[in-house]
């Protein structure tokens, strides 16, 4: 269970639903590890993130709030299996339940592919994503549901999505960069993220925020599958999360694996909490 959240495992009896209906935020683990292309281990991501969140203080002095009073329910993991389309359908259904109950889903990945389920559930107009990679492949190794194609899928398969903002992106194939040049994609390179502000761009629009932890420089977040140097400072990720969170109806942090001493999961856990504090303070 995410520290500070209430235990709200998936109910198997509809009579158990009353507690879940009242939560403001619902944590869902999505340990999918099916299409990772280099170093695997995202199946351990949700567990690592919850574990590394344990030492954090409940109180946030910036917003004068206690995490444990913000009504965060943790309904555990949606166990992953290899049929990715089927898994995403089931996962989206789980997240949609939170949306229907006026709660904000907080998804712990898992490879980045799971964001497609989050976006399907929230149906945002704008997909804001911190990521080292463009993830704009039409298909990677022939797989359109590869984690390297997730942003493209979100743009093309979710009707509600009008535009994508990619923050910290610094690598992609030639065809991905060509796709990124279209009007519905904005790429903010790492050097410019510190100065970036959404301004009025997100006002009165449905927004989904996704953090691929490899947006951070691998020096800070080595526990991820495809490390890409020259990345963001943790404080730059934090500032983006603080800015976007008040507008966002869904959030995820993905691509955390277990191949480090916990630095990556600690950063991910902290960003989840920053999102909750900032959204609640919003």
């Amino acid at each position: 269970m995410f520290p500070g959240a209430t235990d709200d495992g998936e109910a198997t009896d509809t009579a158990d639903r009353s507690t879940r209906d009242g939560a403001n935020f619902v944590v869902v683990g999505a340990p999918l590890d099916a299409t990772t292309t280099f170093q695997p281990g995202t199946r351990f991501g949700p567990r690592r993130i919850r574990s590394l969140a344990e030492p954090f203080d409940d109180y946030d002095s910036r917003t004068d709030q206690h995490f444990s009073t913000l009504s965060v329910a943790d309904r555990g993991d949606v166990r992953a299996w290899n049929d990715v389309p089927e898994y995403l359908e089931y996962l989206a259904s789980t997240l949609r339940e939170a949306v229907w109950n006026d709660a904000v889903p907080l998804m712990l990945g898992g490879e980045h592919t799971v964001s497609l389920a989050g976006v399907r559930a929230v149906e945002p107009e704008v997909f804001v994503c911190l990521d080292a990679h463009l993830d704009l492949y039409d298909a990677y190794d022939g797989n359109p549901l590869s984690h390297a194609a997730v942003t493209r899928r979100i743009l093309e398969d979710v009707d509600a999505v009008e535009e994508v903002v990619l923050l910290g992106a610094r690598t992609g194939s030639e065809t991905e960069w060509e796709r990124a040049a279209a009007d519905d994609v904005t790429v903010v390179p790492p050097e410019a993220v510190g100065e970036w502000s959404p301004g009025d761009r997100l006002a009165d629009r449905e927004v989904y925020l996704s953090v691929d932890i490899d947006a951070a420089d691998p020096g800070y977040a080595p526990g991820t599958g495809t490390m890409e140097p020259f990345g963001l400072e943790p404080r730059e990720l934090r500032d983006v999360v603080r800015e976007v969170a008040p507008h966002a109806g869904g959030f995820d942090v993905v691509e955390v694996n277990d191949r480090d001493d916990g630095q990556t999961a600690a950063l991910a856990a902290k960003l989840v909490r920053e999102f909750v504090f900032s959204h609640a303070d919003g």
Partner: protein, 124 residues
């Protein structure tokens, strides 16, 4: 309440199910593979037949669940009075009073189809 029991695995999109003691129509049905020793689970996304509210449930596929028995009937509008109308059941000739939905225009002698479950009715 008119209902019967079935297993969750028997449910399908377009059919009815009771969620939170409310009859609902199923919009989406998906299943999760079991863990090594777990039993497969199904998720149902549904919408209340009479109140339009979205609901969902997650249950093992072999769990028992209630399915409401909803009748589809034909009726004839006898008269209209403000927001209410008198409708004659074309099978039993019983006359009932129904609230006219905001998005529907009806006039006397018109034939309508409606869903009925106990005292609840909805025009389709």
């Amino acid at each position: 309440m008119a209902k019967q029991q079935t297993e969750v695995r028997e449910l399908q999109e377009g059919s009815y199910v009771m969620i939170d003691d409310t009859p609902c129509k199923i919009n989406a049905y998906s299943t999760a593979k079991p863990g090594k020793h777990g039993s497969a689970k199904a998720r149902v996304e549904a919408e209340g037949v009479f109140d339009g509210k979205k609901r969902s449930l997650s249950q093992p596929v072999d769990a028992k669940i209630w399915v409401p028995i909803i009748e589809r009937k034909n009726g004839q509008v006898v008269s209209v009075d403000g927001n209410d109308m008198q409708v004659m059941d074309l099978e039993t000739y019983e006359t009932i009073t129904m609230r006219i939905p905001d998005d529907i225009d009806v006039s006397p002698d018109e034939n309508i189809e409606y869903l009925e479950m106990e005292d609840q009715r909805k025009i389709v």
